[in-house]
């Protein structure tokens, strides 16, 4: 009884034209000098020519002061003079780029990362210069020269510790103040004591100073810390993403008959909302007038849109496809369906935050051990010799030697390499912890619509349809953006004969398209509407009718994603697989049968979460692969999660990994890389521990000179880095030739040999 199918990808790209002014104004910010700044997300920018085209198109608009494209983030930043916003989105569409408003407030620039990079640069500068001076001392500079070099080293080291060391001191102080200890405490103590002792040595003309050790230590640790930060989870914006799905506002009809663009959280129950085709329903509402089709694929996973007529109840977030509607709000944004999803998601996410990363677990064991060893060494030497200076020197040497340079690099280095490998295969990784979780999974749960299937309807058996008829249907369909119309257009190859060119085409929302060709009236749409003779038995798909007589039927199918068979064949050997879909039983059954999988159909978002929780309760770890808004809570609840790039924003945000290629083979590939990475992490941790087993006794016995400390520290770090680099050369098992076609503009290269 429905006449169109849609999927997340399509639904999201259908942007509305009207009301954009209000939205742009709401999303812009004032930057001074009477200027406003707007950020647009333009996902299709991918080359230098695009940069030029977008910047030229935007720059030519009156009122635009400057426009700049960021190719890495695929965003355009526009500065414009205060007043009515120029038609940015319309202009870009004419230039061939789909754009939508990007809320700059949503991602604050990563301040910590900038601070780490600066601290790293300073530490690098200081470490190299002090090392240069130290090498001269080791190779025999003595007396006044040595003292001078030590003094210069001290002058360089002091500001460096103050600037670059803050990262560690702050965190150590935080821990101590709360009566805890963490990895940063022995680091801070070691670095500061080494510096203090070296100052004393310099003042008393001693032969050994440890400035190089304390600054090089900072340098290596900062490398590890920076990489680690890179792999840390970005503040999860999944929940914020929901807000972007709802329109920022809607056109509200005032009692006096005027129309005001009102922010969504000011819309209350009882207000009359005018909704154009292509817009999302802002709050739960009832239709009072108008006819249209509603795409609720993102909310329910249902693959086929439903018609809307006066009396239909609409949920916030569903997409109005074909005709304008007048709605009466029945709830505020806070009480709408979408808000329930937000709560479901927050609950699911808080459940997963209990996972502790392997590096954190290692450091919790490590810090007390380091403290104890250094302290016992100090006590031991005090008892044995009674020489305070000597005991302190050796205890500091122990602290420096045990400082977790290698440990700090062991995990993030592997994860950065793995993220690169994944990226080369067209898979984006959110955070390093996800990689660890992905390596642990033993069950894979797939969503159907848009995940196992491509999510875009295709014309079934186009060859069976007369080419002339098909091209005529395509010419009519070109006037609509309904997914079925697009499918017909895409399937047609021939040109329509001039005498068959439709003269006028009108769209009847919820029914189909009507076209006049010569004396004939053609209708493309729902059978019950297009055909004069009622045919209740067959209401699936579309028909093309001439003056009420059937010309042809169009059947549509949702094809399996490329590589689905291969990917599942690989996965089946090692994992338990299940389909969890919100679609109707019949639709899921067909796909599940074809792939030979277990399935559950008609599952609501809360049901999906419950199912995943019940699997995990029986001590299994689940990888959830899904795309829709209805999958988002499940994605957040699962041990690890993946989403295709065509997924709804919210799905992509909730997932740990996003794959850009159409092929489902990304799933076994990602699991393979994660497992290899987990193995390398374990090796690296073993190497770091092994290094300590050798070096610590030497330090405790008092044989560590600054030279030995520098060599030991650097070599252990270099070995760990070298081991991580092996990930580049390895090939994941079960990897096959990549599908030839990549629809994504990203240049994903073949595996390096």
């Amino acid at each position: 009884m429905t006449c169109c199918t849609s999927a997340a990808g399509i639904a999201l790209t259908v942007a509305s034209d009207i009301n954009k002014d209000g939205e742009i104004l709401l999303a812009s910010r004032i930057v001074g000098d009477g200027l406003r700044q707007t950020d647009l997300s333009v996902p299709s920018i991918h080359c230098g020519a695009c940069i030029l085209a977008v910047e030229t198109a935007l720059g030519a608009l009156p009122g635009v002061e400057a426009a700049r494209v960021n190719l890495s983030t695929k965003r355009a930043t526009i500065r414009w003079r205060d007043g009515a916003p120029p038609p940015f989105i319309e202009t870009l569409r004419q230039a061939g780029y789909e754009a939508h408003v990007y809320d700059a407030g949503a991602d604050v620039t990563d301040k910590t990362f900038g601070e780490l990079i600066r601290a790293l640069a300073v530490a690098g500068f200081a470490a190299s210069n002090i090392m240069l001076l130290s090498v001269s001392v080791w190779s025999g500079a003595d007396d006044a020269t040595r003292d001078l070099f030590h003094t210069i080293s001290a002058v360089i080291a002091l500001p460096t510790l103050a600037y670059s060391g803050r990262v560690f001191f702050r965190s150590a102080w935080q821990a101590l103040r709360h009566g805890r200890t963490n990895m940063d405490v022995p680091i801070s103590i070691g670095v500061l004591l080494a510096f203090g002792l070296s100052l004393y040595e310099t003042a008393t003309h001693g032969p050994h100073a440890y400035f190089d050790a304390s600054v090089t230590l900072l340098f290596f640790l900062l490398i590890g810390r920076t990489l680690d930060h890179l792999m840390r989870e970005k503040a999860r914006t999944a929940v914020n993403g929901l807000a972007n799905l709802v329109a920022r506002g809607a056109l509200v009809l005032q009692p006096d008959g005027s129309r005001v663009y009102t922010p969504v959280n000011e819309i209350t129950a009882g207000m009359t909302v005018l909704l154009a085709a292509g817009e999302r329903v802002p709050v739960d509402a009832d239709v009072v007038s108008g006819q249209s089709d509603i795409d609720s694929a993102l909310l329910t996973g249902e693959s086929a849109p439903v018609p809307a007529a006066p009396g239909t109840r609409l949920q916030a977030g569903v997409l109005n496809l074909t005709g304008p509607l007048t709605l009466v709000a029945t709830a505020t944004a806070r009480d709408s369906t979408l808000a329930d999803l937000v709560r479901l998601m927050e609950a699911a996410e808080s459940g997963r935050s209990a996972y502790r990363r392997i590096a954190d677990r290692a450091s919790q064991l490590y810090a007390p051990a380091v403290h104890a060893t250094a302290f016992l060494t100090f006590i031991g030497w005090m008892i044995a010799t009674g020489d305070l200076h000597r005991a302190i020197t050796i205890a500091i040497a122990v602290l420096i030697i045990t400082c977790p340079c290698a440990l700090g690099l062991a995990v993030p280095m592997v994860q950065v390499m793995a993220a690169r490998r994944l990226f080369e295969s067209g898979i984006l990784l959110k955070d390093g912890g996800a990689l660890e979780r992905l390596a642990e999974i033993d069950t894979v749960v797939f969503d159907k619509t848009g995940t196992l299937t491509a999510g875009v309807p295709r014309l079934a058996a186009p060859d069976a349809i007369n080419a002339t008829t098909l091209s005529l249907a395509a010419a009519i369909a070109a006037h609509s953006r309904h997914p079925y119309s697009r499918a017909i257009e895409a399937a047609s190859t021939g040109k329509v004969a001039p005498h068959l060119m439709p003269e006028t085409v009108t769209e009847h929302p919820g029914c189909g398209l009507e076209a006049k060709v010569g004396a004939h009236l053609y209708r493309l749409g729902r059978a019950s509407w297009a055909l004069a003779a009622q045919d209740e038995t067959h209401d699936e798909g579309l028909v093309l009718a001439r003056d009420g007589a059937l010309l042809t039927r169009f059947e549509f199918e949702d094809k399996l994603r490329g590589g689905a068979h291969e990917a599942l064949a690989t996965l089946k050997t090692n994992f338990d697989i299940e389909i969890l879909s919100g679609d109707h039983d019949a639709a899921v059954n067909q796909i599940a049968g074809e792939l030979g999988l277990r399935y559950r159909a008609g599952t609501m978002p809360a049901g999906k979460v419950a199912r995943i929780e019940s699997i995990e309760a029986s001590s299994h770890k689940v990888l959830m692969v899904g795309d829709g808004l209805n999958d988002a809570p499940a994605l957040a609840a699962a041990h690890a999660s993946m989403a295709p790039a065509t997924a709804a924003d919210i799905g992509r945000n909730a997932a740990d990994l996003v794959f850009l290629h159409e092929s489902l083979e990304a799933v076994p590939q990602a699991i393979g890389i994660a497992k290899t990475a987990a193995q390398l992490v374990r090796q690296n941790l073993a190497l770091a521990v092994g290094y300590n087993i050798i070096a610590v006794p030497i330090a405790i016995l008092g044989y560590i000179t600054p030279l030995v400390a520098a060599i030991a520290m650097s070599s252990s770090s270099v070995i760990v880095i070298a081991n991580a680099l092996r990930l580049r050369a390895r090939r994941t098992p079960g990897k096959r030739a990549r599908p030839a076609v990549s629809r994504h503009p990203l240049n994903v290269t073949e595996e390096p040999a």
Binding site: G48, N70, S72, F125, N129, L132, I152, I156
Partner: protein, 50 residues
């Protein structure tokens, strides 16, 4: 042997200059869009970051 009296300051100054240049580039947004920078060399127009 007294050469290092001016060689060491020169080495330090050169290092500081490099550090300063890096800090400037970082603050100036030169690292914001690396793939964009690679493409922009093909564009003839004057190029001013926002």
């Amino acid at each position: 042997m007294a050469d290092f009296l001016y060689l060491v300051p020169i080495a330090l100054l050169l290092g500081l200059a490099g550090l300063g240049a890096f800090m400037w580039a970082l603050g100036n947004g030169q690292y914001e869009d690396l793939s964009g920078a690679a493409e922009r060399i093909f564009l003839d127009d004057k190029d001013v970051p926002l």
